[in-house]
């Protein structure tokens, strides 16, 4: 039964990953507008001549710029404000935090879900936030955390 559950989870998860990747404009995450390029050059020129090389590395160098894009995507993926209240009402946020805590505490019990959550954040970091339907790969986890939180706080007798 447990193995069957894992299989179902994996199938649904893979479908979601494919859907997320197909509906995300990945190119957009790694391209710069002429204005952004101009701004990078302006910033590089703000470094004094003695630090010109550092200015180039910090502001223009391609690898550093890619790292900055990844950083932006990562912080977008874990930004609470992105989800509350944009996608979920504020009132659920306390339950989200309680649920997230329980989820991390009991991560050994649900390893597959835990790693699925981490993988979702990594995928989102790589493909960027220009998704047609938003971060659908992360949303199920959020709802899961909220349910965990509600169950913890209210402890319904029927469970």
């Amino acid at each position: 039964m447990q193995k069957f559950g894992i299989k179902v989870f994996l199938v649904v998860y893979i479908i979601l990953v494919i859907f997320q990747v197909l509906t995300t404009n990945i190119k957009e995450a790694y391209t710069y507008s002429p204005h952004q390029i101009d701004f990078q050059i302006q910033r590089m020129n703000r470094y004094p001549p003695s630090l010109a090389r550092i200015g180039y590395i910090a502001e223009v160098k391609k690898e550093v710029q890619i790292f900055k894009k990844l950083e932006k995507n990562f912080f977008f993926a874990i930004d609470f404000k992105e989800y509350f209240p944009n996608r979920l009402p504020y009132v659920f946020s306390p339950f989200f935090f309680v649920g997230l805590y329980i989820f991390i505490r009991d991560r050994e019990k649900g390893k597959i879900v835990f790693y699925g959550f981490l993988t979702s954040i990594i995928i989102f970091t790589l493909i960027g936030s220009h998704a047609k339907y938003g971060p659908i790969l992360i949303m199920p986890y959020l709802v899961y955390f909220i349910i965990l939180g509600i169950l913890k706080v209210f402890r319904p007798k029927w469970l």
Binding site: R43, R46, F75, F80, E82, Y90, S93, Y101
Partner: protein, 519 residues
């Protein structure tokens, strides 16, 4: 053992060296410009020093009206005392904050030491180092107004409050420092009572013992005595000026303040003056210890030490959360203490999981942090935030000083508080200004009247341009590039005679002479 001690001494020296350097290096030049809040405090301190009265000619106020903010007075009185010995330069006012920030490093260390939260001895030094070089700390260490001094005094109070759990006689000291902090900044006027109240509610069982009561009573009496000046002004509008701005419906802003994106990636503060290019409040890598530390904080919340941190988190954020819909990195600055303690929990856990020889990686993290901070704060910030810091008013003041026979109009359409910047940079005699300022403000000092829209002193008027009348007068008009367009200059026969540029070489002020004969 001896080697370890040498390492810790070395770490302490490194922390003090870097914090001293980051707080005091080029302090008079960076931030470039002198912000209007700094000028306001500085000119009032100067006025108090010369005349014993504030800019409006009101004798020794307990709340300074300034431009309608009714700022608690202690920072201004301290500044006026320092003016006697060190003059009125930018450095004097900013060095109060730099010194306060430097002292706060010690009290942060004392607090985490007393709390005994970390497994590794090394973690106490490491988190103190990162606290001292964090962008949030460095930024606030270099302000010429009350925020950082209030922060220090509040932290000393919080430290004594924490140690009063074991020795309740420290409660008197805690009350003294927490009360003093309310005389320095508005933020602490909400934060200190909130923190104290939450502390007493959470630890009531521990506190209300026979042994403690005999120390609580004197502390309470000391508190009452220290707040007599507050009680005396409780009926004035000035006393409640910030209270009227509180709005509990902003409560959910907690989420924004606690979001990793806000803390470690992008400071969402809409005030350009409060931000550093490319940096948020803390370094981006700290998101990892933040997640680990937050988890541990919740996990161990039943422990009194962690309850104390939780109280600190809520109390330090609540005043800023409910005071505005927008994030204010300045009002929430006290949050850096519980945040750093939590980051320390995370760093301690990560370090503990590493093999000892891998802890050398810390050097790389420290190097990266210093590199990023130096580039953002000391190279980009002075150029990109110069206008946000009111750069250029000293240049205008010099220009005016060199032309005592001309009459000037400074357009303040985009900076309605510009008059105080000129008063400060002109070092205009406060006794003279008291004769020129509208006595209405002196006579209704604490009743919070609406700020003036017109200022006149010496050969200067500060107000918005009246396009019907001003071009007919023989005056020199100074304004930013939006004040006078090329078309307007042609239409009204104005002659551009000078311009001033900021460090990015953008024009910030233009000087035009009128030609009344042409009318």
């Amino acid at each position: 053992m001896v080697m370890k001690k040498i390492h810790y001494i070395l770490l302490t020296v490194i922390t003090l060296f870097f914090s001293g350097f980051l707080y005091f290096y080029k302090l008079e030049l960076i931030p470039s410009g002198f912000y209007v809040d700094e000028a306001s405090v500085a000119y009032n301190a100067y006025s108090i020093f010369i005349t014993g009265k504030d800019e409006y000619g009101f004798p020794n106020p307990i709340f300074f009206r300034l431009m309608g903010s009714y700022t608690p007075s202690l920072f201004i009185y301290l500044s006026s005392f320092l003016i006697k010995y060190f003059g009125t330069g930018v450095l004097v006012f900013r060095s109060i904050s730099a010194s306060a920030a430097f002292l706060s490093v010690f009290f942060f260390y004392f607090l985490v030491r007393k709390m005994k939260l970390y497994k590794l001895e090394l973690s106490y030094f490491v988190i103190t180092f990162f606290y001292s070089i964090s962008p949030w700390m460095v930024f606030n260490a270099r302000l010429g107004y009350e925020t950082t001094l209030a922060f220090l005094i509040f932290n000393i109070g919080a430290y004594f409050l924490y140690i009063s759990q074991k020795k309740s006689r420290n409660l008197v000291l805690a009350i003294i420092f927490l009360s003093l902090s309310t005389y320095i900044s508005h933020n602490q006027r909400i934060l200190a009572p909130l923190f104290l109240l939450s502390y007493f509610i959470v630890f009531r069982r521990k506190l209300l013992t026979k042994e403690n009561i005999k120390n609580i009573l004197p502390a309470f009496i000391v508190g009452l005595i220290l707040h007599i000046p507050h009680f005396y002004h409780i009926g004035t509008r000035a006393f409640w000026i910030k209270g009227a701005q509180l709005d509990i419906s902003n409560f959910w802003n907690f989420i924004t303040y606690l979001s990793p994106k806000t803390l470690f990636y992008e400071n969402p503060d809409i005030d350009l003056q409060h931000t550093i290019p490319k940096l948020s409040m803390m370094f981006n890598w700290m998101v990892i210890p933040y997640i680990v530390g937050s988890y541990l904080l919740i996990k161990r919340i039943k422990d009194d030490r962690y309850k104390f941190i939780a109280i600190y988190v809520v109390a330090s954020l609540l005043p800023s959360v409910v005071s505005s819909y927008f994030v204010s990195s300045q009002k929430s600055f006290p949050f850096i203490i519980p945040l750093s303690i939590v980051l320390g929990l995370g760093i301690d856990t990560v370090l503990d999981s590493l093999k000892p020889h891998l802890r050398i990686l810390l050097l790389g993290v420290a190097g990266y942090s210093l590199f990023v901070l130096f580039g953002s704060y000391f190279i980009l910030f002075p150029k990109e935030r110069a206008s946000g810091w009111n750069y250029g008013y000293d240049l205008i003041a010099e220009y005016i000083k060199e032309r005592p026979d001309e009459f000037f109009l400074l357009d303040d359409a985009r900076n309605p508080r510009a008059y105080i910047l000129l008063l400060y940079h002109l070092k205009y005699n406060p006794e003279e200004y008291h004769k020129e300022v509208d006595p209405f403000y002196r006579n209704n000092y604490y009743s919070a009247p609406i700020p003036a829209t017109y200022y006149h002193f010496s050969n200067v008027e500060v107000r918005q341009i009246d396009w019907k009348e001003d071009p007919k007068k023989d005056i020199t008009i100074i304004g930013d590039p939006l004040s006078i367009s090329e078309q307007q200059a042609i239409e009204h026969n104005l002659t551009k005679v000078s311009e001033f540029k900021n460090p990015s070489m953008n024009i910030i002020f233009e000087v035009h002479e009128t030609n009344p004969e042409a009318y």
